[in-house]
């Protein structure tokens, strides 16, 4: 079988578009995410045949059908397992996993936990729209308490899961958030995610125009985002606001919004440090939620240097083989055989 690469070809977005009709609802946030991924992949210097896109079930999980790469649309919640198998079988592949809040955090929460802790070199895009879309509008594990849906006519009663806190709790080595309304930020984030060695977890705020429209309005509308969005940049203080006049300061273990001026300077603010090995800092950011705090986007945590599962597993095999290949006939015969003479 041929596995030569096509490095000599310059790839463009068009190379990643399939002829299939894209069948998301008009106005769905998934379209812009698809667009962003198709813009990102040609810029990574990876041969097209080495991309594999894996998904579970849900609106977001139709994604592989629209990507002209190798792709696998699997079953509900289990994409992390299939992605793991692909990566372990061939660590040279660039594996992208697309999931949603229901697929990744409800039915597939267990697998996501183990993918993240094992740190396979895989990029995970979790489209969070805080609703079950494909089953037509039931509340999801990221829906806010009191969410009124077809299955919760009096409002949901369960506390939602925070995807970023979940990922940090799983000791993920790369945790980021981006918005379906910000093409530039998505491409930038996806590139950083692919470049990271280890599992990269990216939450994408994604609008479901049919069942949960404007759920992220606080950070996506022109009206509010100036005061509600905190864009993280490594090494820079946490500043936000239309006039960039507010910041985040640490008061003990609690973040606090302060106005610059009146004796508060940039030097008093938290400085963004995604490489901090202590995940407490990133967890503080992840727990800053609307409306009490501005919503952070960007790379919250990026910890390089932890061995990936695929690398470690293959290394054990290589090390064992470097001490001489196994003698299969000898294995079968074993150490305690006997001969019956003819």
């Amino acid at each position: 079988m041929s596995t030569t690469t096509t490095e000599e070809n310059v790839l463009t977005k068009k190379d990643f578009v399939t002829p299939n009709d894209v069948r998301w609802c008009p106005g769905c946030g998934d379209y812009t995410i698809l667009n962003a991924v198709q813009r990102t992949l040609p810029e990574l210097g990876i041969p097209k045949e080495n991309f594999v896109v894996v998904s579970g079930i849900g609106c977001s999980s139709r994604f592989p059908y629209y990507m002209n790469t190798y792709g696998f649309h699997t079953i509900h919640g289990r994409a992390p397992t299939v992605a793991t198998g692909i990566k372990v079988a061939n660590p040279d592949l660039s594996v992208w996993m697309v999931t949603g809040d229901g697929d990744g955090l409800s039915i597939g929460g267990n697998h996501l936990l183990h993918l993240l802790r094992r740190n396979l070199d895989i990029t995970v895009l979790l489209f969070n729209n805080r609703i079950y879309g494909l089953t037509k509008g039931q509340y999801s594990p990221t829906s806010e308490v009191g969410k009124k849906t077809k299955s919760t006519p009096l409002g949901s009663v369960d506390h939602p899961v925070n995807p970023l806190v979940f990922a940090l709790g799983s000791e993920a080595t790369f945790v980021a958030r981006t918005l379906d309304t910000d093409m530039k930020h998505m491409v930038e984030t996806f590139k950083a995610a692919e470049a990271h060695k280890g599992t990269s977890f990216v939450e994408v705020f994604q609008n479901c125009v049919i069942f949960n429209d404007k759920t992220f309005e606080s950070v996506t509308s022109r009206e509010f985002k100036g005061d509600q969005l905190l864009v993280l940049k490594e090494g820079e203080p946490l500043i936000f606001g239309k006039e960039m006049d507010k910041g985040i300061k640490l008061n003990g273990l609690d973040p606090e919004i302060v106005s610059l001026g009146d004796g508060v300077s940039e030097a008093d603010l938290l400085v963004h440090q995604p490489a901090n090995p202590n995940s407490a800092y990133a967890t503080i950011l992840a727990q800053m939620t609307h409306p009490a705090f501005p919503t952070p986007i960007g790379v919250l945590r990026q910890l390089e240097g932890r061995e990936t599962y695929d690398e470690a597993l293959c290394k054990q095999v290589e090390d064992a083989q470097s001490q001489g290949e196994g003698n299969l006939q000898g294995l079968l015969t074993g150490k305690n055989s006997w001969v019956v003479e003819g």
């Binding site: 030569t4 990507m67 696998f72 397992t81 183990h114 597993l313 095999v317 001490q323 001489g324």
Partner: protein, 613 residues
């Protein structure tokens, strides 16, 4: 009481059972006795029988662990119906096993353990060893095992409690005396296991074994000794092998023959865990092993690796199969090669985790939603697991389909001698990979096998998408009614067509007669032994033992038609009977038992006789 003799009495076969507390090392001595008998050139079959609890309360009936083996100079197909000799290490072991020992059988007991407390734990009101009738019923050998072992190890630097732990090997040494077994394989076992790490333990166990062996010479009561000569077998290199070991080797050899990397993904479960452990030790053969987070993940990882071109395998038992069902459907509709091993145990639910049963046949056949037939291969003995693993891989790769490999606890844990095959003599397994030189149409099929070609991620120009949604031939998602019907038929026909690749059914006995016994899986030894007995008695009875449970062999229906009656013994309530009745409209007679134990030969002989009258 038999008169003591200095010479051996020649016997054709013997059945020995060791029983003790689950901490007494009964499995270990059973395995050593097996090794020694294999070394002596006998044919052997074994039956380890242990409780689900690792250490149930010491001395209780729940904690009794046993190991039975039959060895002989003739072909041995079962571990034996009843022991000729029983070694009981404590009252609970005696109570749990004595009903199986025939009158006059040899009973070796560790009298040290027959104290008030242990007798009470075993629910004995009185010490049975003090009952005159009991004593006369058996050939009783009372050994003061604890003290004898301590004495034998008086010079050993081990602590007293550690010395006492060697008493299982003292008992084993004594049984070696009785049956004239060689000590060498066991001494080598001590050497390999402990000599480097714990030399004192190796030395103490060797001393205990030898002391037990020497005791026979000095004892008045135990002079009757038995000789079981070498079995007449095909010349060649032999080894002892268990079912799970044979499955491991079969998978590794099949990967070599298919020229694919082997990826195994599993979650620990009794009795399948030894396959995970076994393959994890074979990294130098390029085997990649993933211990997944759960049963679902285990098959998911395997499916991912299969998509990426590996030979992928997962093994589990019934409860794990329940969890894998949805993924098996995905592997079926995406038409990826995959081996799913189900090492069956008693069910449903947690059921009898350490007891055998073959009650997952209908699950293997039907436990997916939609019309989703899959090939099923079932192993009938420990060494047959090797051949069946290779056969499963041949089918999976040739036909691009998941295959279910059925074994069971009895086959998996049991052991027998195995004529080691020459790998070079085994046929290659041909892959059908897509070529980068031609257009790739995902579900375009081979006209003979109906299999699709596989394109592997990394191959230039063959980018494609597969998934759980129904597809048209070109791989695009299709909700077209006619397409779904056609694809469903094609998948069904593909699996049905696998039967064309089988040889004709092997019939043990004449090809026609009064009674045909059809079996499958681990009941092979008991069924074929019973059929041979009856044939020797002149009855017109024959036996077909099925390896392929789906699709069934094309000639099976015709063979059934040549017999007046068909009886199907199974360790379930009639699952194969159900299938044969519905497929062939033949009124087969079902005989099902679900006691967590293999069939006895005598029981089956009696049953078959009822239908021969």
């Amino acid at each position: 009481m038999t008169q003591p003799t200095d010479s051996f009495e020649e016997i054709e076969s013997a059945v020995v059972r060791f029983a003790g507390d689950s901490g007494d090392g009964m499995q270990t001595v059973g395995e050593r006795f097996t090794d020694s008998s294999a070394f002596a050139g006998n044919d052997i079959a074994t039956l380890p029988d242990f409780p689900a609890e690792i250490r149930a309360p010491a001395g209780t009936l729940a904690g009794v662990s046993g190991f039975q083996l039959q060895f002989g100079s003739r072909e041995i197909l079962t571990p034996g119906d009843a022991p000729d000799a029983l070694v009981a290490m404590n009252p609970a072991a005696l109570k749990a096993n004595i009903d199986d020992l025939p009158e006059g059988g040899m009973l070796v007991v560790n009298i040290d353990s027959f104290n008030k407390m242990n007798l009470a734990k075993a629910d004995y009101e009185n010490n049975p060893l003090e009952d005159e009738d009991f004593r006369n019923k058996y050939h009783l050998v009372e050994l003061d095992l604890t003290n004898l072992t301590k004495e034998a190890l008086s010079e050993s630097p081990l602590k007293p409690a550690e010395k006492v732990r060697c008493k299982n090997f003292f008992a084993l040494g004594f049984m070696y005396y009785v049956y004239g077994r060689p000590l060498e394989p066991t001494l080598k076992f001590f050497e390999d296991k402990w000599a480097k790490r714990l030399p004192d333990v190796a030395e103490a166990n060797s001393l205990a074994l030898k002391a037990g062996n020497n005791l026979g010479d000095t004892m008045e009561t135990a002079r009757n000794r038995y000789q079981v000569s070498k079995a007449a077998v095909h010349p060649g290199v032999y080894r002892k092998i268990s079912g799970n070991e044979a499955a491991v080797y079969g998978l590794v050899v099949a990967a070599e023959k298919a020229n694919r990397e082997l990826l195994y993904s599993g979650y620990p479960i009794t009795p399948a865990s030894p396959i995970l452990e076994g393959l994890s030790h074979l990294k130098k053969f390029g085997v990649k092993c993933v211990q997944a987070e759960d049963e679902i993940a285990a098959i998911g990882v395997a499916i991912g690796a299969s998509f990426a071109g590996d030979l992928s395998v997962c093994a589990t038992s019934g409860p794990g199969m329940c969890l894998k069902s949805e993924f098996i459907g995905l592997a079926s509709i995406t038409e990826l090669p995959l081996i799913i091993c189900n090492i069956q145990r008693g069910g449903p639910s947690t059921g009898l985790p350490t007891k055998t049963e073959q009650s997952d046949l209908l699950q293997a056949l039907f436990s997916r939603h939609g019309d989703c037939p899959l090939p099923i291969v079932a192993a009938h003995s420990p060494s047959d697991c090797f051949d069946c693993a290779i056969e499963a891989v041949r089918i999976a790769i040739t036909y691009m389909t998941p295959v279910i490999f059925l074994s069971d606890l009895y086959v998996a844990n049991g052991a027998e001698p195995w004529l080691v095959p020459n790998i070079g003599d085994l046929p290659e397994i041909e892959n059908s990979f897509a070529s980068t030189e031609e257009e790739y149409v995902i579900y375009r099929r081979d006209s003979e096998t109906l299999a699709r070609k596989q394109a592997i991620p990394g191959q230039v120009g063959l980018e494609h998408r597969i998934g759980g949604l129904e597809k048209s031939e070109d791989g695009s998602v299709s909700y077209d009614p006619d397409n779904h019907e056609q694809m469903t038929h094609l998948r069904e026909q593909k699996v049905a067509g696998i039967a064309k690749s089988y040889g004709p059914c092997e019939v043990l006995g004449d090809s026609q007669g009064d009674l045909l016994v059809i079996g499958w899986g681990g009941t092979y030894g008991a069924i074929s032994s019973a059929v041979r007995l009856l044939r020797d008695e002149g009855y017109a009875v024959s036996n077909v033992h099925l390896r392929h449970l789906n699709p069934l062999p094309d000639d099976l229906g015709e063979i059934m038609g040549r017999f007046k009656k068909v009886v199907v013994p199974e360790l379930n309530l009639g699952q194969l009977s159900f299938v044969l009745r519905s497929k062939y409209l033949v009124d087969v007679i079902s005989y099902g038992r679900v006691q967590g134990k293999p069939f006895k030969v005598s029981e089956l002989r009696q049953k078959f006789l009822e239908h021969l009258a």
